[in-house]
Amino acid sequence: MMHRFSRELTLAVTILLLMLALAVFAHGYFSAENMADLFLENMPVMIVALGMTLTILTGQIDISVGSIFAVSSVVAAVAARAGFSLLTSALVACCVGALCGALNGVLVAYVRVPSIVVTLATMVALRDALRWLTQGAWIGNLPDHFQWLGTSQRSFTLATLLLLVVLIAASALGLHNLRVGRAVYATGSNAAAAHRVGIDTSRVTLAVFTLTGILTGLAAMLNATRFNQVPSNSGLGLEMKVIAAVVVGGTAITGGSGSIAGTVLGVILLGSIGTALTFLGVSAYWEKAFEGAIILGALSLNVLASYRARHRKEALLAV
């Protein structure tokens, strides 16, 4: 089954070409420093994208992650300022994320409201509720040990890198080698059949939304600790970045097909574009247009590949 990984391959080749161009034209792009900065910048997107991959694999979508991100980071900061330990604050952030995610999940799985409607509503409601409650104020006066989790910048970067590797490996292995992982694919591929073989699809759906919430909370906490104060409007547009990365990574929006490896590559490709353009001296005004073109380009590549496969099959059947 050569073509099983064709999407990931296409993507990897695209990234390689981009890297090659950057290595030749953009001096200093591959410095350790830039790599570390790029990593930290895209870390939240990466973490949330892991959850989003699961959500999209089950055939759902979550556009409320940006708002959950903002709510979690503010709550975590408030908790830290109130004297909670860092670990407790992080737990609080994850719990807030889990609660918001679970709310989405219950409405999607048990009330059976389409996920795009549910998360559109929670996206608006959470964001505006946060605006209302904080009145836009930033959370400052954080304890000294809040930034970098009380460690140095370097060890924080290494620690998050390690954590991220563990998270990616865990989700990739879990999806491939655990029954629950296969249940996610099964639910997205054919929910009725999944129900018939005894998979509790509602629970699977609830679980992926909750997990996405937890990961969003975690991402918010890790991002917040990079600075000494927490703005109340963070995560604007995060949902679009994350969904775009997952989709560019080849996960089918209809569910059932896709991989963590693809998502990782998608995040890398989209995450490096903005910075790469600056390095290449392209005006920032065109960045968004490039992003859109890349999403469409990746999509069209997928289609071309599957067209070829389909035509081969039809040729066999032609009378």
Partner: protein, 660 residues
Amino acid sequence: MRFRLGESRLFANSEGILLLALIAQVAFFAVTAPAFLTWGNGFEILRFSVELGLLAVALTPIILTGGIDLSVGSTVGLAAVVFGVTWDHGRLPIGVAILAALLTGLACGALNALLIARLRLPALVVTLGTYSLYRGIAEGLTHGMASYTGFPAGFLQLGQGYLWGVVPLQLPIFALVVAAYAIYLHRSIHGRALYAIGFNSEGAQYAGIPVAKRLAWIYLLSGTVSGLAAIIYVSHLGLAKADLGTGYELEAIAAVVLGGTSVFGGRGNLLGTLLGLFFLSILQNGMHLLAMPSELTGVLTGLLLLGVVSADRLRSKRVGAAPAPRWKWAIGAVAAVTLIALVFVVRQKATQGSAAGGQHRMVIAVMPKAKGDPYFISARAGAEEAAKELGAELIWDGPTSLDASQQNELVESWITRGVDAIVVAVENKGSISTVLRKARAHGIAVLTWDADAEPNARDFFLNQATPEAIANTLTDEAARLIPGDAQFAIVTGALSAENQNEWIADIKKRVAERYPRLHLATVQPSDDDRDKAFAQTQTILKVYPQVKIVIAISAPAVPGAAAAVEQSGRKDVDVIGLSLPSICRAQIHSGSIQTIVLWDTRNLGYLTVYGGWLAAQKKIASGATEVDAGRLGRLVVRGTEIILGTPLIIDKANVDKLNF
């Protein structure tokens, strides 16, 4: 011939619930909100529903066929920019510009149609891509130039004028489009085909329906209608800008979904969409008239969306077992919604009522550019202080994000509500002046602050500092900090922000005149997001290692840029900018921010209310050169501008003395 819409499909979905909710909502606002139930207010609601309404109408057949179009808002932005470019740059007649905008919409729709209908790509993903692409092209096309204004009066009539003195001119256009879509969707062969596709697209294909062609049509139409919406929007605001229509896609989808159209395809109709649309617009209008904060509207919209759709789902789940309780659900939903709204309002009224005496208090409405911006939040404290001192009632509300049309809408509802003074921080000069003139015509004192409108649209401008003064102070400060030849970089807010572009232009001018040894390396946007400013600054430091000073001209960007410099370990790079002491204090002390330039925002806030209070009582004589502004003492009046004072230069020495 009969109209099928009227029978089997009318109450098939959640329209029943929605209609009841709408009636309950109107009844509720009629009782509680001043001047809600008037013809004038009704037509204003309609006027502000037109742009969104056009998009919602165009989205209905798309969602009905199980598709989605996230690019409509971006198409509005791109079409508006093309309209502006054609008219302003190309010096072509307005008719040609209109045609160009419509063609742009058509082209945007055509790309979607090609990818979705022809190549069979999932609509959500395709339009997610074109959502970025179209907005990106609009931004790319306008870069450097903020916006296009100064359209001929005849054209502006289209969006701002009245028919018979009361019917907004764009309303007949909207009605025409709705009627055309109603016929298209509910009476024509095409419409029937769309329903068949929505229920079962393969089955439709087996019945000989050219599925791809029919789908291509609705995406083409949606692009074109978005182009039309852009033209009306431009005429309504009197300005064409790259960020027009931001977020409209989600609002339009919310209206369609609220109207009972199923995202799974097949179910739904235009009547529902209109009900959903009006439900949302009336909610917004009513909340404004009640002087409830704008954020609450967002929260309520979200909750209502969940409530109505959940009620519909729960109902249809149970229909099989027992068809009777559907009305119970409907009534339950409406009761719950009304109850929630009532609780909020009663609570709000109670807090207001206890403060209010008995006799008439002066009502002064102050609008920031956007709520949630720390700069404006610090001004609010001053405004509240002045209101308390003067015994006036303060309404403090604004758009939740930078949005010129929401500013207009708020002013309209304040006129309807009947306030004594309106004080606006103008987002866009061209777009707000018409409505401000209308307020003046109603005998309301109109003042502007932070940024000015057209001079004849307001009584006074509360001038905290001119753009030139700000730019000059910043440039001089930069020149003072770095001796000799050096490069500097600017981190701005959004690329389409008007006042920031003005500052950039003035900085360039000052550098050219006074400091030829300084060189501007690059301008990068931060979208008013601290984290993005951080990442941009990191990149700037690496790509332009000669940059010795970063000038950040958006409040959240300054701490972001400073954090980037701090974490890079570069001791030789300075950060200065325009920001608030409250969010920069720590970094000013640590030395990563050298200087921020600002005026006393708290005093500015104080002046908004105080100035409004004076102007409403006509206590500022024409030709006066000085005015007594309470605790601010005597302020200079220059023509119709009240001068707050010179910008403050804030650094280590004085930052702790400032409490904003």
